[in-house]
């Protein structure tokens, strides 16, 4: 008994001890690798390909940050996390940044002591059902069995939605997306609910995606964004502006194909010049190379390229830009100026 208390205390102390290191940037540089927390596998967002290389939309953010900080987009150690383990992993210092379909909420930002650095995907919670059930609206789901990943905001939204609409359901809590898929396909649950993007990504991996429908109701706002620990503002700035750089690059037409050419000499657009470091000293202000943004954009392309390559309409996942278009195209992406 004494021993278990002792070991427990050790664990807790170990957990807390990792937090102490403040300057994440120095740690990452000294390590030569960025520790990036991702999902345990959600095709399109973060999943290992046939060669074991991680790829996806969230992975693109990891690579861009690694490129901006270390100049090498492959200098990333991917740490798969579940909905339950992700925050502990970040708080304990096991990972430096967590781009993992994580919804930006008040309590996570304030009470859990994390800093959200922006939104890389505007999402909402949806429902997927087999077409043979003949359900056309989520309000018809009275008495249904619902598969849900535990430890997520979706769990709370689900409870709210069914309570407000005065209908009942039976939750089946599940740890990972893969388990949810297994249960859903076997018919152990009628409905699978998670972020609409996640549903699309999951459906894309089914044998017969056409047999399943995503219901029209979107029951929540789920702004998904990367997050870092509270208290290291410099590191948060680097992560935030790397993401902003990818979004700005799309706005100004800087792509992975033309970035070298645009960065070789100052162009007549001062915004591009400051972004790519041919004018001004933006990189030096947070201790990075002047070409940090060039490296970040070259890592996987600008925001639009990342989107099209991983989750866009020409991929099996087939998500439309929707809210995630530039503000100039009627979307919500709007980056503050690089100045």
């Amino acid at each position: 008994m004494k021993k278990s208390v002792f070991l427990g205390a050790l664990t807790v102390a170990g957990l807390a001890a990792g937090v102490a290191g403040a300057a994440t940037l120095d740690d990452v540089k000294a390590r030569g690798k960025l520790n990036c927390g991702v999902t345990t596998g959600l095709v399109g967002f973060a999943a290992p390909d046939a060669n074991g290389e991680w790829e996806g939309f969230d992975v693109g953010v990891c690579r861009a940050v690694a490129a901006a900080v270390l100049g090498d987009p492959t200098a990333v150690e991917f740490v798969p996390t579940t909905g339950k383990t992700r925050f502990t992993a970040l708080a304990s210092g096991e990972i430096d940044i967590l781009p993992r379909n994580t919804t930006w909420t008040f309590s996570r930002d304030v009470d859990l002591k994390f800093t959200f650095i922006g939104v890389n995907y505007y999402d909402g919670q949806g429902f997927m059902v087999p077409k043979e059930l003949g359900v056309s609206s989520a309000k018809e789901l009275d008495g249904a069995t619902v598969c849900i990943q535990t430890g997520t905001t979706t769990e709370l939204n689900l409870a709210d939605f069914f309570r407000v609409n005065n209908i009942t359901y039976e939750p089946v809590p599940i740890e990972t997306n893969a388990e949810a898929q297994q249960q859903f396909l076997a018919g152990a649950c009628d409905v699978y609910t998670t972020d609409a993007s996640g549903l699309a990504a999951t459906r894309a991996t089914f044998e017969n995606p056409g047999d399943y429908a995503v219901l029209p109701e979107i029951i929540s706002k789920e702004p998904l964004g990367p997050l870092v620990r509270h208290g290291d503002d410099e590191w948060a700035d680097i992560a935030r502006w790397t993401l902003n750089a990818l979004i700005a690059a799309e706005e100004y037409g800087v792509t992975s194909a033309n970035v070298d050419e645009l960065a070789s000499a100052p162009t007549d657009n001062p915004e591009i010049n400051r972004l790519l470091g041919t004018e001004g000293e933006l990189g030096a202000m947070f201790g990075l190379e002047p070409t940090w943004a060039v490296a970040a954009i070259k890592a996987g392309g600008n925001y639009g390229e990342l989107f099209e390559k991983n989750i866009g309409e020409n991929t099996p996942i087939g998500l439309a830009r929707g809210l995630n278009a530039q503000y100039t195209d009627g979307g919500l992406l709007y980056t503050p100026p690089f100045r």
Binding site: M1, S4, V5, F6, G8, A9, L10, V12, A13, L15, A16, A17, V19, A20, G83, K84, F87, T88, A91, S107, R108, D111, L112, K113, E132, L133, L141, D142, G143, A144, T145, T150, G151, T152, E155, L156, L158, A159, D160, R163, Y169, E170, P171, V172, P173, I174, E175, E179, Q182, Q183, A186, G187, A188, C189, D190, H230, G231
Partner: protein, 418 residues
């Protein structure tokens, strides 16, 4: 003439702490104690300091805030507006449920397998060896996941029961439905029930159930009295009066009368909407966890039982055989009662293991205390330290209670020596 004087009182010197064997052990023990206390102090201080730096002071206030999430299996009333504390309590009851079910089943299977492993029938003995080695040498998590996967993949889903020519039908005269969401069995209902007994206003216990249990205990007590009286008559006269029919009547009649008075009937499950409604729903997660934990722990218990039996001298068997007892009576009346003394102590740790292993429940989505308090609550409130410490404390208390109860039992089974 010399005068005897007392030897000079030896004054205490500091060096004696090391060189004098009388004091040396104290010295080292005190040094070790200081070392351990320093380590603990450092750990605690470090934790508190780091949490303060993060701005997260230890605070259990979150327990009284609404949980916001639903739990599918609950033994007491609970909805998502109840507190985290109540959610934790629901989880605790689920842990206890699977632990009790698991311990009972594991003991039954374990004893049978342990005895059969010593069988003189080659095939039976070998089969039991295969079972024991198979379950003992694969992590229990695999068995839990495997059991769940088999249940999900092999059983029909509720929608297969629909239609004029359904792919699946209910079994046992249309009373039980085996689905991949669990087993639906008829539930006992009382049309003239006497309601619930409220405990601290927190949850209710069915008075019907209490009444039935009280009546049953009373009946058994009376039946036993009748048996004792028969024993006394036999001692005195040598003739044992026939009592079994009276005893059976005493046990069965009062319960039947009570059930009729309460208006007992069965509620059958029926397909309605997405799921079966009515009846008792035993979820797959519970069945998978229960099955895997019982089979796994039973393998260990079987080895304990075998060891206990082998510890009894062969002479006991031979002596009993010489008295004319048949082999199954020898086992039940002579060997097992003695073997219990060897079996019980390791059995206690198997019960503890099973209870603690039940914390793997989240692998199949069974909402035990680990899943609620140390799972969802931890996640939604971000109180790692508080929830984990609380969870550890709860497991500690459960384990100590199991040990305590089993130790009392062990004490009673001990060989009484003069």
């Amino acid at each position: 003439m010399t005068t005897l004087t007392d030897p000079p009182a030896e004054s205490f010197k500091l060096s004696m702490l090391v060189y004098d064997t009388r004091y040396r052990s104290y010295t080292f023990q005190i040094i070790a104690l200081i070392g351990v206390l320093t380590l603990f102090g450092w750990l605690t201080n470090n934790t508190v300091q780091n949490l303060n730096d993060l701005g997260k002071e230890v605070d259990f206030g979150f327990l009284s805030t609404p949980a916001g999430y639903d739990i599918n299996q609950r033994l007491i009333e609970y909805d998502n507006q109840d507190t985290h504390l109540r959610a934790a309590f629901v989880g605790l009851l689920n842990t206890l449920l699977v632990a009790v079910l698991g311990c009972v089943t594991a003991t039954i299977i374990g004893v049978i397998v342990g005895v059969l492993r010593l069988s003189s029938n080659w095939l039976v003995a070998r089969l039991m060896t295969v079972y024991v080695e198979m379950f003992r040498n694969v992590p229990v998590l695999m068995w839990i996941v495997l059991a769940m996967a088999i249940l999900i993949e092999s059983l029909p889903s509720p929608r297969d029961f629909r239609g004029d020519t359904p792919e699946a039908t209910m079994k046992l005269f249309d009373t039980v439905a085996f689905t991949n969401r669990g087993v639906y069995v008829p539930e006992p209902l009382f049309s003239r029930g006497i309601g619930d007994l409220s405990v601290f206003g927190a949850f209710g216990i069915s008075l019907d159930l209490i009444a039935i249990i009280v009546v049953l205990i009373g009946s058994f007590w009376v039946a036993k009295r009748i048996g004792r009286k028969a024993d006394a008559t036999q001692e005195a006269t040598g003739v044992r009066p026939r009592t079994w029919h009276v005893q059976t009547a005493v046990i069965i009649l009062p319960v039947v009368i009570l059930l009729v008075l309460l208006g007992f009937h069965l509620g059958y499950p029926a397909l309605q909407g997405f799921n079966f409604q009515g009846g008792t729903h035993m979820r797959n997660s519970l069945i998978a966890l229960w099955l895997a934990l019982s089979l796994y722990t039973a393998a260990f218990i079987a080895e304990n039982v075998r060891a206990g039996i082998l510890a009894i001298s062969k002479g006991q068997t031979e002596a009993a055989a010489a008295l004319g007892l048949r082999s199954n009576r020898i086992m039940n009346l002579v060997i097992l009662p003695q073997a219990l003394r060897v079996i019980i102590p390791p059995l206690i740790s198997q019960y503890l293991n099973l209870t603690k292993n039940s914390s793997l429940a989240i692998a199949v989505g069974y909402m035990d205390i680990t899943g609620t308090l140390m799972g969802i609550t931890l996640n939604q409130t971000g109180r790692e330290l508080e929830t984990v410490l609380l969870g550890m404390l709860i497991y500690l208390v459960i384990s100590l209670i199991i040990s305590g109860v089993m130790n009392i039992y062990n004490e009673r089974k001990k060989l009484v020596e003069r």
